[in-house]
């Protein structure tokens, strides 16, 4: 059964009051961080299909034939890339010259220095408070980007803090009133 994607939507959004009461700072941070490691904010996007899971993942294996051969060679021989290059092994050409593996391994700091994991500094500050602002300052190398994103992170931190203090005060007042 194929269902148009547009029919998936549930026309029943949660009210603002319900969300503000149920969402915690921790939940907000988890949401943002989940998205960081599924970098959906980094990319442009293509229109949705009726069934998004109709691909045959094995097709991608064919595109990775050279890397798969290299993987098997490495597994059996235990050779490193520099050793393969020194032997002038043809499979060494399957690997990019850039050996920075941090982004692959853990979505580390962006080498281009524009934004930390392409997330605006404001949201780092808003969701992770002062911790997020410190992360932005420490992780961005480019001085111009560091200044810009750092300012945004501090602004986000201030707005987030005010919001949560306001919510806390409202909660206390509400509980005392009733």
């Amino acid at each position: 059964m194929t269902v148009p994607y547009s029919k998936f939507r549930v026309p029943k959004p949660l009210s603002k009051e319900v969300c503000l009461n149920t969402m915690t700072m921790n939940t907000a941070c988890r949401t943002l961080l989940l998205l960081l490691f599924c970098p959906v904010l980094l990319v442009a996007g293509t229109p949705p299909s009726s069934n998004p899971f109709s691909d045959q993942p094995a097709c991608w294996d064919q595109e990775f034939q050279a890397l798969s051969e290299l993987e098997q060679l490495v597994e059996t021989s235990g050779l490193s890339l520099s050793q393969l290059k020194s032997e002038d092994h043809p499979l060494a050409d399957a690997v990019m010259p850039d050996t920075d593996i941090s982004a692959t391994l853990m979505g580390g700091p962006n080498g281009e220095g524009e934004r930390l994991l392409e997330i605006p500094g404001f949201f780092w500050g808003f969701c992770c408070s002062i911790f997020g602002a410190i992360l932005v300052y420490l992780a961005i190398d480019d001085p111009v980007a560091k200044k810009r994103e750092g300012r945004q992170a501090i602004l986000g931190c201030a707005v987030g803090t005010l919001l949560w203090v306001g919510l806390y005060v409202w909660l206390i007042v509400s509980l005392n009133y009733y």
Binding site: P13, T31, V40, P52, F53, F64, V95
Partner: protein, 230 residues
């Protein structure tokens, strides 16, 4: 006084859940390989090695064999990089451990990709052959920035996930295959990640082999000491 009772009730209700959670699956060890490349390009990237993750200690160790032998030690937001037992660098990183697929596996959150814990709410559920496709909606506060997520599952195991932006355009997909059971815990052996960029598809394939859950030896690796000078 009412707020004190409320606080007490909330605290007591959370305690046993946390305690039980910490006692079950807490260690993950596996050999891994990551292959990635942009579509249409000849060259890509390959990383092989083994990973040790301890959920309770919040420590992750990557013993990398390829491209070059090195060790990455991650504790919370600190990462130490060692080559031949010598500290090469240290840096602040996002708290990847808690949001890694290894943590999701151990916490048994892989069935919903950790979305429920992140504040997403389930929407429509559709059956398509053997697949059950469920849509998850983001928290109200994030609807201006992110879109829904579709999850496909078979026999209560997550087989695929699709992420959309706020305009409901497809951004990335994950496929989870070759599940095996380890101490009753289903672990995918192969994970495909496809990112749809302006320049084309970017594909990453992760394989996991020789998986060990709750390993009781090699404590010195799981609970590594902070490297001198780090």
């Amino acid at each position: 006084m009412r707020i004190n009772y409320l606080f007490l009730l909330v605290s007591l209700s959370f305690f046993p859940i946390k305690a039980l959670d910490a006692q079950e699956f807490y260690r993950f060890k596996s050999d891994f390989s990551i292959k990635e490349k942009e579509s249409g390009k000849d060259q890509g990237r390959l990383i092989t090695g083994s990973i040790y993750y301890d959920k309770n200690l919040h420590k992750t160790v990557y013993n990398i064999r390829f491209p070059e032998p090195e060790q990455w030690l991650v504790r919370d937001t600190f990462m130490y990089r060692k080559k031949a037992d010598t500290l090469v660098s240290s840096q602040i990183v996002p708290p990847v451990g808690e949001f890694s697929v290894f943590n999701m596996i151990l916490s048994q959150q892989l069935t919903d990709f950790g979305l429920a814990k992140s504040g997403y709410t389930p929407g429509n559920i559709q059956q398509d052959g053997n697949q059950v496709i469920a849509q998850w909606l983001p928290p109200e506060q994030f609807k201006a920035y992110v879109g829904p997520v579709s999850l496909a599952s078979e026999q209560k195991r997550l087989t695929a996930a699709a992420f959309y932006d706020k305009d409901e355009k497809l951004l990335s997909k994950f496929y989870f295959q070759d599940y095996t059971l380890h101490q009753g815990l289903p672990v995918p052996g192969k994970i495909y990640q496809i990112y749809y960029r302006e320049t084309g598809e970017f594909v990453r394939i992760m394989t996991l082999k020789n998986i060990i859950i709750n390993q009781t030896d090699e404590d010195h690796i799981y609970d590594f000491e902070q490297p001198a000078g780090g």
